[in-house]
Amino acid sequence: MTASAHTRADERAHIGLTQREGEGPDPDEAAPIIFGFWVFLMADLVLFAVLFSVYAAMVNGGQGTAPGPADLFDLKIPFVETLILLASSLACGKASLALKWRHDRGRLLAWMGLTFLLGAGFLVLELRDFIQLATEKNAPPQASGWLSSYWLLLGTHGLHVAAGMIWLAVIAAQVVLWGLVHEVKLRIMRFALFWHMLDIVWIAIITVVYLFGVQS
């Protein structure tokens, strides 16, 4: 098999969805959908990039008289949050593999369920952290420009996670209703892209907000 013929066969099977030709959705229809979602993710990443630049501007000179990052942050909870979110991404990856290699509805749903639960665990920890910040630590978003930007950046990421979970539940319902039909497969693939992107954003948050924060 030549290299180009090999690529073509992969394309027909649609990388990431199925391993055999003819099993997945029509690539001519699937490709624009997946490509479109990549473009959407790019626009979404621009949004996060803007939030990060706002944060960077605010952390230098936007703190006012309110408590700053060194007063507020320790790495314990963010470390646990990171582990949970990464584990959720792992579960999401296992779900994709269950779809691609095993074509097994039960296994797929189990991994999707674990993805959901870990996402929920992350959100619970984050909410707990938010409540603590606002009450015990006296650092609500209204306290300073920097805190506003911290809450907006973290809040936007958290909202993305919550929206992703609702989306995941909808897809799970469709898996149960319709089985592994093509449109559901494409949705799972798009969800996976979205979920992994949120991980990448979180890694940036851990670095820029927490690691730099405790050092400052």
């Binding site: 626009a43 621009v46 939030l51 706002v54 000179g61 306290a143």
Partner: protein, 690 residues
């Protein structure tokens, strides 16, 4: 907490005018009344025509990119009428207010320049260019639709939702007085309490989300749905500009969305992003807004550049001069547009080095733009020119735009900018760019593609009158502002102390009236053309001896655009087909065509988004919450719908197409010079070398 939030009787404009009668309030009430009567009148007209069913099934719920494009343009025309009348009102006030307060209250005047700018950018220019791209681009690349027809309709109806909020502000409460750029801290809660800024925030947010989705849709369509053989470098230049615009939309709308969200958080939840004190920093807003705002300028101008490229080739009967240089110039402009945003606030405290860097970057944009101007001129040289209305608008653009470009280069110098910052010189400059560089292009686009969309040409005589009025009006309205601006007159002034400026102001006022006349005669042109549609009919679908694929299909094109997706071998694809004598030949086989079914979901999403924005503006929390849940509920329910397309059988396609071919073959061939006469049958004379 009342059921209607903070909305009370005295917020309704008519009640307000009754309670505090004045000329200013009477004008506001008149505008509110016009909005109500306009909506009622439209409803009565539709009922009288018995067209509700057609309107609902054929338009409001349609996912056809051509219908969506036309609806965008209708929205733009409605909104330009309002914003242009506001401009006239401001000029009348200014000319009357030399050493005198005039007749408009300061608050009313400030609302006028805010709504004028906001509408012209977000609800006239953006819908207009999005509509033209929506209509033309898929046809030009030989596609049957956009990649995401449903999302396309969602973009349209979100934009309409924003426009509904703009119109609602005429009747309920008042609009922002903070200008179209809404700089905090002035637009923060402490200096602008009340609902005005909230109207601005939600209207702009809906429009910007709609534009982000549009950008994604256009880019994916161009990358993935070109006809076989239509390589990127075989695309008509208009498609290249559409591609550049979509990339700009994808990258530039997010900063605006973030900026408006931050302003909303400041206002609603007392966040401290842009406040004075507590670490707030309004410079972040200025940077974010112009990080969107400058690419936006090129989002506005590039599609017009694309239209002009089509006009100059088509009406010169020549292929585009310097195609590759035009493509390169377009892409250079797209990239450079992200490197110059700071020139909007040279005076706001950066170091001289930073200002110099951005000044140089700004001047650099003049280079690719200059390349384009020469390419267009050379396209016309030794061409067989047909002086259509579209070409007249395009030629006026060439001359006028260069003047605006030169004043832009002047402003790009930070030293000069310090002198004329926020003066009428700036106002003259950006109108000098956007009126020829956007509006004339869009009007030219309507002149060119109207026969494609409706099967008959637009009346040339009224078109020329309109072009004359737009041109004279532009020069008379804006050249005086250059002089005044250099003399120190600031923008956004309600009244003047210096009587020397009165002649300039009077000239500008007359110019504004001429511009209004330009719009009126344009509408007159539509009316006259509809009445004379038999004489103006071009059933062949190719009235201009067109060069690109859209001219090879019927007028109006079928829902599926092309009976058989064309095979493309070169640029100017339809010219090549005609030169080879293969135009209007029947294909060997037909296939079933799958097209999206109509759906009311996008319309519902747009209306719910408007309701959500209205609820947020007036603190009617239950309405905002229900509408928000409704929007996402509609999206989720839609995802459970599996039968979203229908199939048009090959036999039906064959029947329609064969009938059309038969009709076209029976039409007389129109020589080039007869293009503007009733002899134009819509079938161009063949056999001449391209």
């Amino acid at each position: 907490m009342s059921l209607l939030g903070i909305l009370g009787w005295s917020d309704i404009i008519f009640v307000k005018a009754w309670q505090n009668p004045s000329i200013s309030e009477a004008i506001a009430a008149g505008a509110g009344g016009a909005a109500v009567l306009g909506a009622l009148g439209a409803a009565v007209l539709v009922t009288w025509l018995g067209a509700w069913r057609t309107l609902w099934t054929g338009w409001l719920t349609s996912l056809d990119h051509k219908k969506i494009g036309i609806m965008y343009i209708v929205l733009a025309l409605v909104m330009i009428a309002r914003a242009l009348i506001e401009a006239v009102l401001m000029r009348v006030q200014q000319a009357a207010a030399v050493g005198d307060p005039g007749f408009l209250s300061a608050d009313h005047y400030n609302q006028l320049f805010t709504t004028h700018g906001t509408i012209m950018i977000f609800f006239m220019a953006m819908p207009f260019l999005t509509g033209v791209i929506n209509y033309v681009m898929p046809l030009q690349i030989g596609s049957r639709d956009m990649s995401f027809p449903m999302m396309n309709a969602v973009s349209l109806w979100l934009t309409v939702g924003g426009a509904i909020l703009m119109m609602a502000s005429l009747i309920f409460g008042s609009f922002s007085t903070g200008g179209w750029s809404a700089y905090p801290p002035y637009t923060g809660a402490s200096f602008s309490p009340g609902v005005g800024v909230d109207y601005w925030i939600w209207a702009v947010t809906l429009a910007s989300v709609g534009s982000t989705l549009t950008g994604i849709n256009i880019a994916v369509t161009i990358y993935k749905r070109r006809a076989p053989g239509m390589t990127l470098f075989h695309m008509p230049l208009f498609c290249w500009t559409a591609l550049a615009v979509s990339i700009l939309m994808i990258f530039a709308m997010s900063p605006l969305t973030v900026a408006t969200a931050m302003l909303a958080l400041d206002r609603y939840a007392e966040f401290k992003f842009f406040t004075n004190g507590d670490g707030g920093n309004m410079m972040i807003y200025a940077n974010l807004f112009w990080l969107f705002g400058h690419p936006e300028v090129y989002i506005l101008i590039l599609p017009a550049f694309g239209v002009y490229s089509e006009v100059f080739t088509t009406f010169s009967g020549k292929t585009l001069y310097g195609y590759r240089s035009l493509v390169l110039a377009t892409m250079c402009i797209a990239v450079l547009s992200f490197t110059v945003w700071l020139h909007h606030f040279f005076t706001m405290g950066q170091s001289a080095e930073i200002n110099a860097a951005f000044g140089i970057a700004t001047m650099l944009i003049g280079i690719p733009t200059g390349v384009k101007v020469y390419d267009w001129l050379l396209t016309m040289v030794r061409g067989r020119i047909v002086a259509s209305t579209a070409l007249i608008f395009s030629s006026v653009f060439l001359v006028t735009f260069v003047v605006g470009g030169v004043t832009g280069i002047i402003l790009a110098n930070p030293d000069v900018d310090y002198q004329v910052h926020n003066s009428l010189f700036l106002v003259a400059h950006f109108h000098n760019m956007l009126i020829p560089g956007l509006l004339f292009g869009m009007i030219a686009a309507v002149q060119v593609w109207f026969p494609k969309a409706f099967g008959f040409r637009l009346d040339e005589r009224w078109g020329r009158i309109s072009a004359l009025l737009w041109t004279a009006g532009f020069y008379l309205a804006f050249m005086p502002l250059y002089a005044m601006g250099l003399g120190g007159a600031m923008r956004r002034m309600r009244s003047w102390a210096d009587p020397d400026w009165w002649p300039w102001l009077l000239a500008a006022e007359i110019g504004a009236f001429l511009l209004l006349g330009g719009l009126a005669t344009l509408l007159m042109q539509f009316w006259v053309s509809v009445r004379n549609r038999r004489a103006l009919a071009v059933p062949g679908g190719d009235p201009w001896d067109g060069r690109t694929l859209e001219w090879g299909t019927s007028s109006p094109p079928p829902e599926y655009n092309f009976a058989v997706v064309p095979q493309v071998d070169s640029r100017d694809a339809f010219t090549a087909v005609k030169a080879a004598g293969r135009a209007y030949s029947a294909p060997e086989t037909y296939e079933d065509i799958e097209m999206p079914k109509a759906t009311m979901v996008p319309l519902a999403i747009g209306l719910l988004a408007a309701a959500c924005g209205f609820g947020l503006t007036w603190h009617i929390w239950w309405l905002a919450l229900l509408a928000f849940i409704g929007i996402w509920g509609a999206v989720i329910l839609r995802s459970f719908q599996r039968e979203t397309s229908r199939v048009i059988p090959a036999a039906e396609v064959a029947r329609q197409h064969e009938a059309w071919l038969e009709m076209v073959r029976g039409l007389p061939q129109t020589p080039r010079r007869a293009g503007l006469t009733p002899a134009n049958s819509g079938r161009a004379e063949q056999g001449e070398p391209a």
